[in-house]
């Protein structure tokens, strides 16, 4: 989980983290900075595989370009996004290359002047 060096979490962030669902956090650069044990168990990624790596590692090939462009747009003020704050059905790439369709709930949180993207993932299908 997050180190003590990180700023205090907000209520929304904490409620997602406490949900018990697979959970992943990326920073403004799109690098993974936190996952939980449920995420490791469901999607097969080890902590060392993802922390500090690009979020695109867990995206299906066909989603990467669109993700990078949409993510880049978030960098420009005013911050707006069609994907935040409501459930989304998206495929997630597992460590073994299979994909699981999952319901993502993503929020953006500003903590100590740094934006974080926090998501819970509820698996909807078996790995395929």
């Amino acid at each position: 989980m997050a180190s003590n060096a990180q700023p205090a979490t907000t209520a929304n962030y904490q409620s997602l983290r406490d949900s018990g669902l697979p959970f992943i956090v990326a920073n403004r650069l799109g690098m993974v900075c936190e996952i939980n044990e449920a995420f490791e168990a469901v999607y097969g990624w080890a902590h060392r595989d993802l922390i500090g790596e690009s979020l695109s590692l867990i995206l299906p090939e066909a989603h990467k370009m669109s993700h990078q462009l949409a993510f880049s747009r978030f960098q420009l003020p005013p911050t707006q996004s069609a994907i935040l704050g409501h459930p989304l059905r998206l495929a997630t790439r597992c460590a073994n290359g299979t994909e699981i369709v999952s319901e993502h709930f993503i929020i953006a949180e500003e903590r100590a002047d740094e934006w974080y993207f926090v998501a819970t993932l509820k698996p909807l299908t078996q790995a395929a």
Partner: protein, 585 residues
């Protein structure tokens, strides 16, 4: 686990940030272009598109990624559907253009251009879609498209297979019926027609892609439930046809129920909607029977269509003249849909409260909350149809939650909890289809300061709960938190007694149909047995539909203590309740 530390991150963080900013500006610029743009990989699978392309194909970007672009283009409403775009792209893979007619009057046309991204291997392709309605004439478009129609395409048109469902279509089905009747005169057969209820609204609300997915899924479910001798076709629009062999006329009803059940028993989650949507498909069915040689395929079809038409008009409770039936049905559906939208937009479903009383004194100990939805014009609509349409349109999660919020809000405004009044709330069986309703209900109750020990949840017995264990778990959670749970409309379903033993409830509400017949000695015997059984099992009982003093007296004699009905008060607004309660008794 350890956290990522910025100081140990990649040294090029500034560069990455600069690149993000650059990409962000480029994406904004591409979004501002009036042409629709789409980039695909070398297999023509969508990698990215701009907002104009999303609007062109009426689907959000996330649902388009990884889809073949040919499939998306093919769904556009082209006037001439014979042009084989896939073949055109294959003939000119690197660069090309084609003009497509969308509408003749006034003329509307689209130019599709494509080109490989130079230097990339394998190459991706950029597609551009430009409105050229004011740049071409109808004659120019026609001459261009006639040249493009291949022999293969002409053959495909005559074979008439539905591209969405893979089923035969109406002309093939009619030919098959004709051949069957000619070969096997004397055999009893039926043509069954099924229409998907509220299909237009599903298309409007969730997009044509979701509608197409639903049609494909219904076709799959019907196919699975079909016997080997029966034939299935998509007859057009949202209509499916089954031509079935019958051993006797009684079999028709069984086949209809089996096929309807196969489609309606499980919700369907389309993959092309951006948000998770749970559609509950419902079919209207009409049929006509034939014994070979007595009729033609067309007259059989006409008879089945008329039967279906009668069913649909009955379902939509239209009272209009026959000649206007189809329009009435659409208007009715639109009015229902507008009511759902109206409630969601205004974040409110009007709620009426009906007193629940102690039979001995007639004094209320609580109120049952009943939804009273209105259209945008303020016209009341039947709540069961409002809820059914919400389920069919995949909006039950939002509508169900809004209903809970609206109910708690009314109860808080009336300060009824301060007087120790109970609140009884109806939950739909579909709200128990997935885990989490108990948590949501408790959270909302806390937001509205609704004491859980004054809250009763009424659940209707139904055979349509996909996973009974989820329902049991959720009910157990509610009861552990102090919420009272009653089984509603007891006695109207097929398995009421099973439910008492399988679902952990605190009590039952006896349906009004039993109360109305309590003057009948035999029914009274059943009621007496029910009262004894509930007392022995420690179950609470509320009797519904008490309308006369005679009902009240007979029910009291049988040992019932609680009830509700017009004798004690109709469902009424909070204002009416407040006025009557402030009046000196």
């Amino acid at each position: 686990m350890t956290a990522f530390r910025p100081e140990s991150g990649p040294p090029s963080a500034t560069l990455i940030q600069d690149l993000w900013n650059t990409l962000g500006r480029l994406e904004s610029a591409l979004a501002a272009i009036s042409d629709a743009l789409c980039i695909t990989n070398n297999e023509h699978l969508v990698l990215w598109c701009n907002q104009q392309f999303e609007e062109l194909v009426s689907a959000p970007r996330l649902t388009l990624l990884g889809k073949p672009i040919e499939d998306l283009i093919q769904r556009l409403p082209f006037e001439d559907r014979r042009v084989d775009l896939r073949a055109t792209f294959q003939q000119h893979p690197e660069v090309g253009a084609i003009d497509m007619l969308m509408r003749k009057e006034p003329i509307s046309a689209l130019r599709i251009e494509w080109s490989h991204v130079t230097g990339e291997n394998p190459p991706s392709t950029i597609f551009t879609f430009r409105d050229i309605s004011d740049q071409v004439t109808l004659e120019e478009l026609r001459s261009q498209q006639i040249e493009l129609i291949s022999e293969e395409t002409r053959f495909a048109i005559s074979s008439a297979l539905c591209p969405i469902t893979g089923l035969k279509m109406r002309p093939s089905m009619l030919r098959d019926i004709e051949a069957t009747l000619a070969a096997d005169a004397g055999q009893l057969r039926a043509l069954l027609l099924f229409n998907v209820r509220a299909f237009r609204l599903i298309n409007d609300r969730h997009g044509y892609s979701a509608g197409d997915e639903l049609l494909a899924e219904i076709a799959r479910r019907l196919k699975q439930a079909l016997r080997s001798d029966d034939a299935l076709a998509r007859m057009g629009g949202d209509q499916f046809g089954v031509f079935a062999k019958l051993s006797d006329i009684e079999e028709l009803s069984a086949i209809t129920h089996r096929l309807k059940g196969a489609v309606e028993s499980t919700p369907f989650l389309p993959a092309t909607t951006q948000a998770v949507v749970e559609l509950n498909p419902q079919l209207d069915a009409g049929s006509a029977v034939i014994r070979g040689g007595q009729s033609t395929p067309h007259s059989l079809l006409r008879a089945a269509e008329m039967a279906l038409d009668r069913v649909q008009r009955g379902a939509s409770s239209s009272q209009q003249a026959d000649s206007d039936g189809g329009q009435d049905e659409l208007r009715d559906e639109l009015a229902m849909s507008s009511a759902v939208d109206h409630c969601l937009q205004h974040n409110l479903i009007p709620i009426a409260l009906q007193p629940m009383v102690m039979l001995e004194t007639g004094e209320p100990y609580g109120f049952e909350a009943l939804a009273r939805p209105l259209t945008a014009d303020g016209i009341p609509i039947p709540v069961h149809r409002f809820m059914a349409l919400s389920e069919q349109l995949g909006l039950m999660t939002q509508v169900g939650e809004l209903l809970i919020r609206s109910t708690f809000d009314v109860f808080r405004q009336g300060r009824l909890a301060h007087e120790g009044m109970r609140l009884s709330l109806n939950l739909s069986p579909s709200q128990f289809a997935h885990s989490g309703i108990a948590d949501r209900l408790v959270t909302i109750a806390q937001q509205f300061q609704m004491p859980l020990d004054l809250l009763t949840v009424e659940i209707t017995e139904t055979a349509l709960v996909a996973d009974e264990s989820i329902m049991r778990d959720e009910i157990t959670q509610l009861r552990e938190r102090g919420v009272y749970v009653l089984l509603d409309d007891f006695g109207t379903g097929f398995s009421s007694l099973n439910w008492i033993f399988n679902v952990p409830t605190d009590g039952i509400k006896i349906d009004r149909s039993y109360t109305a017949a309590v003057t009948d000695p035999r029914r009274r015997l059943i009621m007496a047995s029910l009262a004894n059984m509930c007392r022995d099992l420690g179950l609470d009982v509320v009797v519904e539909g008490i309308e006369t003093e005679q009902h009240r007296a007979l029910l009291q004699e049988l040992g019932f203590r609680k009830g509700q009905g017009y004798l004690f008060g109709k469902p009424m607004s909070l204002d009416t309740i407040s006025t009557s309660r402030s009046r000196p008794s």
